[in-house]
């Protein structure tokens, strides 16, 4: 039986196991929306396409399944761009579907035409412009395969209106055949042998774990490796939750806003085991002095990450989980480690701390949120100071519980992402930790939250500044606060205007009760926390310095 391209698209999405898409209608996707009208797919209408992309991203990060977003041609498609770039930088499996002007109008600067495959070339793992309805089913199959296998990432499918309206027979396209796409899961045995030898010879090993541990489902293997070696585990921002934050061997985050003990450990280690990481500049800072005395093992599924930023002594290219297993099975557990004892002492000596002064402190807000939720919620954040405090003062013990924009650092990500997380995890509590600047970038999604009753709790760490930029102006630009002071609405009234609940907390003693109440309210809640305005995120490595030269 012949079907329209749009119906084929829906069939193909269902065949990939898609249950939810985040989208926004428009002219070029009219045929697709018509097919969605009676499809067995949940469609979440956001209030901006950027919100749809971030929500799909949050959905994917929380569930491990690919997130799907849909937008019309032209401005609809370009509004997805930030969200796609964000997913690309953090290796999030996503399929973005855009409408396009009919093929006969392509290349003529037609109404709402934008070359979205051209625009997204550098920010997608792959993309497609489907010019023939007969190619549609196979394209969708390939897109999901590419997005979810190997190092995950976003794939875009651009569908001209005459293709989604055109007719063809739907046939299951069968398994994917891509001659230029190979995933290497099994590491080379020789590489594993060299890694095992280096580990056995090491006295002061440090594990540096990133988002690849979570993407690769390797958290249990990571825990085993750390406990066998009695090695401290430093995670990147993306790696938080990949190793239990409460574990004695956890040294928290490393790098620019890492803990002192994590950074000291990296500087003094004789073996650095990078697991699913990319030696990003926010981690290494002055790269020549990063782990200067260490043999470096780098385990990653993406061969292009090996040697991209630092020279690697022992590359292990393969699936992180598979690679760790192969290494672990050849190791003997260590019973004693003076190195570990040294780390424990550093942890006592250089805790991450702040000074109380009677005014509401952001750190105590996060700590109290942790105390109330006991780590049993999913946390999504925006970008800036609050993000770093959320990394420092909340302990993430399970993978996929900390959802944050790492690589791209996208303000406005947190709230729509939290909605996607809530859609993926309807029975869990979702807390969005945001700032007054970040929240205002996508606060229109309050309407989405209320419409679908996604009861996300938003904690706005409100200092009336673009705080992280202000901090840099304070430290490196002589306190010249150029346009970083930012006003905002009354967030309580804003929430109420949308039909959500709003609260304001001004004293430390009120945080706990407010959070408990927010969690009881069965709808979205915004809590405004007006905090000490010029609080800084510490410790901090000044730009260009080695990571053991820390302020604070």
């Amino acid at each position: 039986m012949n079907k329209t391209g749009a119906q084929i698209l829906v069939e193909s999405l269902l065949a990939e196991g898609v249950d939810t898409i985040f989208g926004y209608p428009g002219g070029a996707v009219l045929p697709i929306y018509d097919a969605l009208y009676d499809a067995d797919l949940r469609h979440i209408l956001t209030r901006h396409e950027q919100g749809a992309a971030h929500a799909a991203d949050g959905y994917a990060r929380a569930s491990g399944k690919p997130g799907v977003c849909l937008a019309t041609s032209g401005p609809g498609a370009t509004n997805l761009v930030t969200g796609i770039a964000n997913a690309y930088m953090d290796s999030v499996p996503m399929v973005a579907i855009t409408g396009q002007v009919p093929t006969s109008l392509l290349g003529r600067d037609s109404f709402q035409e934008a070359d979205i495959t051209g625009i997204t070339l550098p920010i997608t793992k792959h993309n497609y412009l489907v010019k023939d309805v007969k190619d549609l089913a196979r394209t969708v199959r390939e897109a999901f395969y590419i997005a979810t296998t190997g190092r995950p990432g976003p794939v875009l499918i651009d569908i001209p209106r005459d293709v989604s309206a055109g007719m063809a027979e739907y046939e299951d396209p069968g398994p994917v055949q891509l001659p230029g796409y190979h995933i290497k899961l099994e590491p080379d045995p020789e590489q594993v042998t060299r890694a095992v030898r280096a580990i056995e010879e090491s006295e002061r090993p440090v594990i540096y774990a990133g988002g690849g541990v979570i993407n690769g489902g390797a958290h249990e293997e990571l825990l085993r490796l750390a406990e066998m070696l009695l090695a401290p585990v430093a995670t990147t921002l993306m790696g938080l939750g990949g190793f239990p934050g409460n574990h004695p061997l956890s040294v928290g985050m490393l790098g620019m806003h890492g803990s002192k003990y994590a950074n000291y450990a990296v500087c003094e280690c004789d073996l650095l085991i990078g697991v699913g990481v990319r030696f990003d500049d926010r981690v290494t800072s002055k790269i020549e002095e990063f782990a200067p005395n260490a043999t470096v093992i780098h385990i990653d599924i993406d061969p292009a990450e090996i040697g991209k930023n630092v020279g690697v002594d022992i590359p292990v290219v393969g699936d992180v989980r598979c690679s760790l297993r192969k290494i672990i099975e050849r190791l003997q557990p260590r019973l004693e480690s003076r190195w570990r004892d040294k780390i424990f002492n550093w942890k006592k000596e250089y805790p991450i701390e702040y000074v109380e002064n009677g005014r509401l402190k952001p750190q105590e807000v996060i700590q109290e949120i942790y105390n109330v939720t006991r780590g049993n919620v999913r946390v999504a954040t925006d970008v800036g100071q609050h993000q770093m405090w959320a990394a420092h003062y909340y302990s993430y013990d399970r993978p996929r519980t900390f959802i944050t924009s790492g690589g791209l650092g996208t303000m406005g990500f947190g709230f729509p992402a939290a909605l996607g997380v809530q859609v993926a995890c309807p029975d869990e509590n979702v807390v969005c930790i945001s700032g007054d600047g970040s929240f205002q970038m996508n606060s229109q999604e309050l309407a989405t939250a209320v419409h679908y009753n996604l009861p996300v709790k938003v904690a706005i760490i409100n200092n009336g500044y673009l705080g992280m930029v202000r901090q840099w102006q304070e430290l490196f630009y002589n306190r010249r606060y150029a346009y970083t002071e930012i006003t905002g609405p009354d967030f309580v009234k804003l929430a109420e205007a949308y039909g959500a609940a709003g609260m304001r907390v001004t004293k430390k003693s009120e945080i706990r009760e407010a959070m408990e109440e927010a969690l009881r309210i069965p709808k979205p809640v915004v809590i405004d926390f007006p905090i000490e305005r010029e609080e800084n995120v510490l410790p901090m490595v000044p730009p260009g310095e080695p990571i053991n030269k820390m302020l604070g």
């Binding site: 792959h126 412009l129 991209k308």
Partner: protein
């Protein structure tokens, strides 16, 4: 050091943009890039000459491999290979000088492909060095127009860069 890469790609629209975009965005320097169809109509072959040390080349090949449309990459620099480039040159030549220029053409085994009242258009193939020398020898007459194809290359002997491996170094 200059490296010559033989890159097989799927003959999809946009594949050239993907490859070119990758080089510019990652800051790799392309000396030349020639592309065309192969014996298989679904597969195109790019010959890319790229400048860089071993580390740069490693990144170039790895990043190229990440492109879904890129099927195979051979760095043939260290192998024995034949390489050719074609140049078309239009030179100012008075009828009186024609003989001289035709002699130069003979030396380089170039051919006259067109004749104007005051110009000659010559075609020459060869490797980089030969083409450069040919160009230099014509420069005194005044080159009005010059176009080069960029280098194409092929392994010598029974080795080849195909979809199936045949002993060539696969990066």
């Amino acid at each position: 050091m200059r490296h010559t890469l033989a890159v097989l790609v799927e003959n999809n629209p946009g594949v050239l943009a993907r490859v070119a975009g990758l080089f510019s965005r990652r800051g790799f320097n392309i000396d030349s890039l020639a592309v065309g169809r192969t014996e298989n109509p679904d597969v195109s072959r790019m010959t890319i000459v790229v400048e860089g040390d071993a580390r740069v080349l490693e990144q170039v090949t790895k990043q190229l491999h990440k492109l879904v449309d890129v099927i195979k990459i051979n760095d043939i620099t260290a192998d024995e290979y034949v390489d050719r480039e074609l140049v078309l040159i239009k030179v100012n030549v008075d009828p009186a000088q024609r003989g001289e220029v035709m002699q130069i053409a003979d030396v380089f085994r170039a051919r006259i492909v067109d004749l104007g009242r005051k110009t000659l258009t010559l075609e020459c193939t060869g490797n980089d060095g030969k083409i450069n020398a040919f160009e230099e020898s014509l420069r005194p007459y005044g080159i009005k127009e010059l176009v080069r194809t960029g280098k194409i290359a092929m392994l010598r002997g029974s080795k080849y860069t195909g979809l199936q491996d045949n002993g060539a170094r696969d990066e």
